[in-house]
């Protein structure tokens, strides 16, 4: 079969991209989703706090997803559920399979990558100890509790203060588990501040910064874990060990964009984000292949995902209609001095919209600092920031008019500087 735009993944990114592409006038769009319903990870994020930017109200994850699902259905955007993409060729031929039709191929003019991310596993963290049952990624536990109504444990220690970990500390407490402590390797939390307040502080769950799990006890099921404080090189400090009896260890230690399909088709990845290198149109190095959402870089808010996906959808639409100018070299965007990366990586003044949002994360907690933008060596903007933290995404806006005024630029650099 053939389609104009194939969207890989029917989560928040895929849905918003599809809606935007349809609204931009593309008729043949196909969303390919591996799960049995649209909405992606939002289906298990039953807490509130979604949609303040997009809908100006506070929704839960499933409600936020439903808004987009309804829109997609209203626009009669076709989707396939329970369908897994096996391979995408450089020629944008997508090999998929599902129970109804077996193996088949879909030829697409443009592809939007929206596969999301996965959680870092115990193995990748290399936590020593036994390998019993009772060690879950926070997301797995979230699925059990929120979608199956089942408890994966009664007495819980959480490693990692990413948002899912914080949210699960509250969820499991509310559902009757005893969450004893959240340990965080870094000297700051990886999650949003509001989540520390309403998920930990509200329930007197201690957050131990600069701590990690150094041993897991229990041969069949987790019986306890040992925490230790770590030094500035993140090495456990002898003598600071504390043993916690528990039957469950939840891990919330970071998310990794899931780009196996992308690399197979020759999409270049950014080693910092593990997501594709994209230009201002969110197009990868493979022409007509776009990326958005957590497969591109891990977001803190779904509202930003929707915004980004809309841009990818619009550009993919322009591409299939032949309205997207051919990509030039573009001005390289660089993050320096604490700015870990930027999305996009280049900006083409011909192709960019009047306003281009550049998103990034910082590598440490910065207080009372300035976010500076340089055109070549010239500082063109300096914005005071009370606080910036790795757990929260930052952004700046580039204006097309200003860039055109500046003429041929070698680079645009974003830096953090002292006041």
């Amino acid at each position: 079969m053939k389609t104009g735009i194939a969207i890989i993944g029917g989560g928040p990114a895929g849905l918003a991209a599809a809606v935007a592409a349809r609204e931009a006038g593309v008729e043949d769009i196909l969303i390919i989703e591996r799960d049995n319903e649209l909405g992606g990870i939002l289906n298990q994020c039953i807490h509130n706090g979604f949609g303040l930017h997009t809908f100006k109200e506070e929704l839960t994850g499933p409600e936020y997803a439903e808004r987009y699902i309804e829109k997609a259905e209203e626009l009669r955007i076709p989707y396939m559920l329970h369908t897994i993409v096996v391979d995408i060729g450089e020629d944008k031929v997508i090999t998929v399979m599902n129970k109804e039709r077996g193996m088949f191929r879909i030829e697409a003019k443009a592809v939007i990558l929206a596969m999301g991310c996965r959680e870092r596993s115990r193995g990748a963290l290399n936590i020593p100890g036994y390998r019993p049952a009772g060690i879950y990624s926070a997301g797995t536990a979230q699925r059990y509790v929120n979608m199956e109504g089942r408890m994966p444990g009664k007495k819980v220690v959480i490693l990692g203060s990413g948002d899912i970990g914080l949210i699960m500390a509250r969820r499991m407490t509310l559902e009757g588990a005893q969450v004893q402590v959240v340990a965080e390797l870094m000297p700051y939390s990886g999650g949003l501040k509001r989540n520390i307040v309403q998920c930990l502080d509200d329930y007197d769950i201690p957050l131990k910064l600069s701590h990690t799990v150094i041993d897991i006890k229990g041969k069949k099921r987790v019986e306890g874990v040992t925490l230790a404080r770590v030094d500035e090189n993140r090495r456990p400090i002898p003598g600071t060990e504390e043993y916690y009896e528990c039957d469950t260890l939840l891990l919330s230690c970071g998310l990794i964009p899931e780009n196996e399909l992308s690399s197979q088709m020759g999409v270049e990845l950014n080693p910092v984000t593990s997501g594709p290198v994209v230009n201002e149109s969110l197009e990868t190095n493979v022409e007509g292949v776009f990326a958005c959402g957590n497969v591109l870089h891990v977001h803190d808010l779904v509202d930003y995902v929707s915004g980004e996906a809309k841009l990818a959808g619009e550009n993919a639409a322009a591409y299939v209609k032949g309205a997207l100018p051919k990509a030039g070299k573009g001005i390289p965007l660089k993050g320096e001095n604490g700015v870990r990366y930027t999305v996009p990586c280049t900006v083409d003044t011909e192709r960019m919209a009047q306003k281009q949002i550049v998103r990034f994360r910082v590598g440490d907690v910065y207080r009372d600092s300035c976010l500076c933008v340089y055109y070549n060596d010239k500082c063109v903007s300096r914005v005071k920031k009370k606080v910036m933290a790795p757990g929260e995404m930052e952004q700046i806006t580039l204006l097309k008019s200003k860039l055109q005024e500046a003429g041929d630029l070698e680079s645009i650099t974003i830096r953090i500087e002292q006041e």
């Binding site: 506070e58 839960t60 409600e63 929120n146 979608m147 199956e148 509310l174 509001r194 509200d202 808010l301």
Partner: protein, 123 residues
């Protein structure tokens, strides 16, 4: 006049503003550090009548999933959170469930309704 200073993190939105509340003896409050008016509202409420929206899940029979996510329609007093969850313990819905469907009226005597937040189709 004596003042008490309280520091809070606003939970109104993901920005998480650091709020400083100066409470004078007569109970008057001055909030700084907020980026929007909701921050000031939150601070006042948090110091006088702290409230939270509660999200949980209840059982569903005959649906494509065995349970459905729910939330309190508005925030409820913080000290009623566990009563609210307890009140949902024995609730069993029957599929289909629509978003917004009332799961419990006046939960734990708060005067607040609990509503479904996800569509559950018949299996």
């Amino acid at each position: 006049m004596k003042m008490k200073t309280k520091e809070l993190v606003c939970i109104g939105c993901p920005l998480g503003c650091n709020l400083k509340v100066e409470v004078s003896e007569d109970g008057a409050m001055e909030v700084t550090g907020n980026t929007c008016p909701r921050g000031a509202d939150y601070a006042r409420k948090e110091l006088t009548d702290p409230r939270r929206i509660v999200t949980s899940s209840v059982k569903v029979q005959g649906g494509h999933l065995p349970c459905v996510s729910v939330k309190t329609e508005t925030d409820i007093p913080k000290d009623k959170i566990f009563d609210c969850v307890r009140a949902l313990k024995d609730v069993v819905l029957t599929a289909p469930v629509e978003i917004g469907m009332v799961v419990a009226e006046d939960v734990a005597g708060t005067g607040v309704r609990v509503i479904a937040t996800k569509k559950i189709d018949k299996a």
